[in-house]
Amino acid sequence: MRLLLNSLFYRSPFENLQKHADKVKECAHLFKEAAVCHIGQECKKFDLLTEQVARLESEADGIKRNIRNHLPRGILMPVDKFQFFEYLREQDKVLDEVEDALFWLSFRPKGIPDEVATDFHHLVEAVIPPIEKLSDLVSLATGYFRSRSEAQRTKMKSLIRDIRQYEREADLLERELKFKIFGTIKDALVVYHLIQLVGIVGDIADHAQNASDRMRAMIAK
């Protein structure tokens, strides 16, 4: 026997979105650990950390599929479904880029050349906060779409501004690092590897910001 009106309600996708965001956050920490370990030395833990990231990425993929497959037409949500899926896509891209960055790191087991190691470290550090903030953003969104509290919306807007700011800082570091790579590294192969790697790491913050922009559109009045 069921409560009759209950069948009208559908499980909120925001619960799973939060789980996905948490996986992304967890991956970000592992990525930082792996990248920092890899800089300038041969890192023994690197493979293990990469494996962990791959496992988390696959779990997050499962959550993403679950969200997409269980939101058929006819389900009414408090937000535009298109915006919601766009958000999910951007949040998932963060993970893809993290995994990709780890692959690129692994292609050169010698680590990052000393000339740019510190700057690369700074860049890695710079892309972590926007990802962490995404999880907080989803948590606030879940509450906001339940209560529609203006105070919560203000907090979300402030968080989105923070993410934008972090992304700008990461962009700046990325650009400076690219200048430095071209200026100091003479080996074309290393330059190519580093430019690709730095671009991908920079993209992590870009996608985090894109996701937050989607969230801003969702809470627009």
Partner: protein, 418 residues
Amino acid sequence: MNIDIVVLSIATLVGLYMAANIGANDLANAMGTSVGSRALTLKQAVLVSIIANVLGAVLAGGHVTSTISKGIIDPSLLADNPNMLMLGMFAALISASLWVHLATYFGLPVSTTHAIVGAVVGFGIISVGGGAVSWGKIITIAASWVISPAVGALIAGTIFFLVEKRIMAARDPYAAAVHYAPALLFVVFLVLILSFIFKGLKNLHLEIGFFQTVLLATPCAALAGLFGRRWVRWQVHLKSELRPNPQGYSPVECFFAQLQILTACYVAFAHGANDVANAIGPLAAIFSVVKTKAVALQVEVPFWMLFVGGIAVGGGLFAFGTRVMETIGKNITEITPLRGFCAEFGAATTILICSRLGLPVSTTHVLVGSVVGVGLMRGMGTLDLRILKNIGFSWIVTLPFTIVLAMVLYKLFTLFLL
């Protein structure tokens, strides 16, 4: 054994079964939103609904009921054959109960009144012919399929929109709640008091005119409004003392939880007053036939029958609805106190307005419409609009199903018992 006694005993059991089904179907819906939003715990909800329901049945239930539910067929046509009426009512009661049980099993909120009306129509067609059936009544039922959810959705959606815009989305929801509390409480109490008198107490035939009722209700509602600000302050203060409430609702939402409980109590009372008669009316008719061996136009419903009917409805909620509501209370976060309040208060307002305008509405249909209305205003976390197709289908099927089943059962009874 005397056939009358057999029919009477079985009819009593079926009457109680019908009452229990009403509890599981209708009352569980009405109280479920309060449990879902955690405005009430499961035990409180069951207790409150049983008390309100029994009070509704005993104090305001139809002490005198039309022999043939809602005047669908002309009872004088059956005057010569009281046994026909007895078996017909028996068949109607069983058909309606089975349909409501089936609908409850499949999770479809159907109107118990429509089920009993359909069943009586079925019996009427087969016993005295289609010409004796008041088909106008059937048209009003068909109109209810559209009017009830549409008006319910419109009113509940508007209430949600206004409350959300003016209070929840304000810079300071607490200050806004305090500001609007007197007006809000005035409206809520006015609607509830008017509904209470018009719908809840209609069976007492108090003969109070519309304007007299409004004159009576306005000062009471104004008094409630006067205490509104103090009430909000007290509620919010109380809730913020209990550090973060487990559901994470803002303290202002807790104020709506109180209003939701009030509305839920009214709904349970109104159920007792109006819907217990669905199960007890045919039973009273059978009782009367057995006792007097004649067909009366109206029969007295004994006090004990209303009391037992009220208890059976509560029992139905307890037996079939408890586990369900418990699951809701634990798993569903879609119904917040504000949404639950808007849906239930929207339903109460719709029923009041429509019944004053003479539009045919069903509580169940209105409640479904109200929930969807709040959802359409982007108020619900998620709403499965695909289910609406099944619900609409079950509303339409209620009549043919109960009509045919009552006809078949009546035919079988007459073959074996008469």
